[in-house]
Symmetry: C2
Subunit: 210 residues, 2 copies
């Protein structure tokens, strides 16, 4: 993650007043939520977002490492597609579900689940959060992962993966269903991994027996 914590230093002087780093980041996140929602991920440009925020486009790289990092920060999802998708794919498709689960669990648990809870709270109260989560699942991360696998019905698989991952987050951090809420990552991988792996690479035609 290239977004720093320090609040000083390199803020640009636009519109005749100094902005703190925190102000700049907040303005970029607000503008990003608006423009990603209006235009979708692919059509939105760093220039347009920076323009609406009233800051220099270089600030997007400075604070978020680029458009993908800004998107994932705006949607509060702990996966940066540019960095993480190649890493997740690097080990081959067979253990992809396990790597995905460990990646989400590590990121979410680091913040005590607060990031996921904040995402769900924003989904319940803001339609644009819904649009952004949909965009994330359908385009930015899951579809990018799944299309590289070459399996059938990639859109349906991405939606099924989204349902399982969001359901895990709900059960673990929002509803706090025990013993899943306190389970070790190994237990989550052993129980949910094979199901997520089926959504990624298994037969989802219904042709399998009971």
């Amino acid at each position: 993650m290239s977004s720093g914590i320090d609040q000083g230093g390199t803020e640009p002087k636009r519109r005749g007043r100094r902005r703190s780093g925190a102000d700049t980041k907040a303005a970029l996140l607000t503008a990003a939520r608006e423009i990603f929602t209006e235009q979708g991920y692919d059509a939105a440009t760093v220039r347009a977002i920076a323009g609406r925020a009233g800051v220099d486009p270089a600030m997007v790289n400075h604070w978020f490492g680029g458009k993908a990092g800004l998107f994932t920060a705006a949607v509060r999802i702990p996966i940066n597609p540019d960095d993480d998708v190649p890493q997740l794919l690097a080990g081959g498709p067979e253990q992809l579900a396990e790597r995905m689960l460990r990646r989400f669990l590590s990121a979410w648990d680091n913040a005590g689940g607060g990031q996921f809870v904040a995402l769900m709270r924003s989904i319940a109260t803001h339609d644009n959060a819904v649009t952004m989560l949909r965009e994330f699942i359908q385009s930015v991360v899951f579809m990018r992962l799944i299309k590289t696998l070459g399996t059938d019905q990639p859109e349906l698989r991405a939606a099924l993966c989204g349902a399982q991952i969001v359901g895990l987050g709900m059960a673990r951090y929002v509803v706090r269903l025990e013993p899943l809420a306190s389970a070790d990552h190994d237990v989550v991988v052993a129980t949910i991994g094979p199901n997520l792996q089926r959504y990624l690479t298994g037969d989802i035609s219904g042709a399998t027996g009971p």
Copy 2:
């Protein structure tokens, strides 16, 4: 469901004023949310809920068919455990996941998903909705179903089923992930059914191969 639509008829005259049926139902639902949250499902009594609502305990049977129906109405979940759990179990354990999925999908789709969206909205904004959903999953429906199966780790299985069912609802009605959001029930059963069935009756020890 024994809760009627008609607004007239049998309201009791307590506290010196007439209450409409709608008032009585709303007062019971509010009192139920409070008392189920404070005391849990098992300890809460119809008498205590009716007392807090200021209505005759017979009104619980009249409007909700009993304590279980009042609970599921209060938590906005379309399963009445007293009626539905025996029905779901009647066909044997092998197709239980399919019957569960069809039951939830039919109930949710009948209301255009509005019931599920309302539940999620209340979860994001009210802690007692979280407590009630946890109670529902851990005690009222899923645990009751799973304990009859005699499988190992019933609490973990109930939590895993909860994660998958809530995730399906989120994907279908809140985030509206296509093509899952518009999929026929047969498609949902073919794709998610085998995974839910593994949570109910399959090997979740992690001992299975890839």
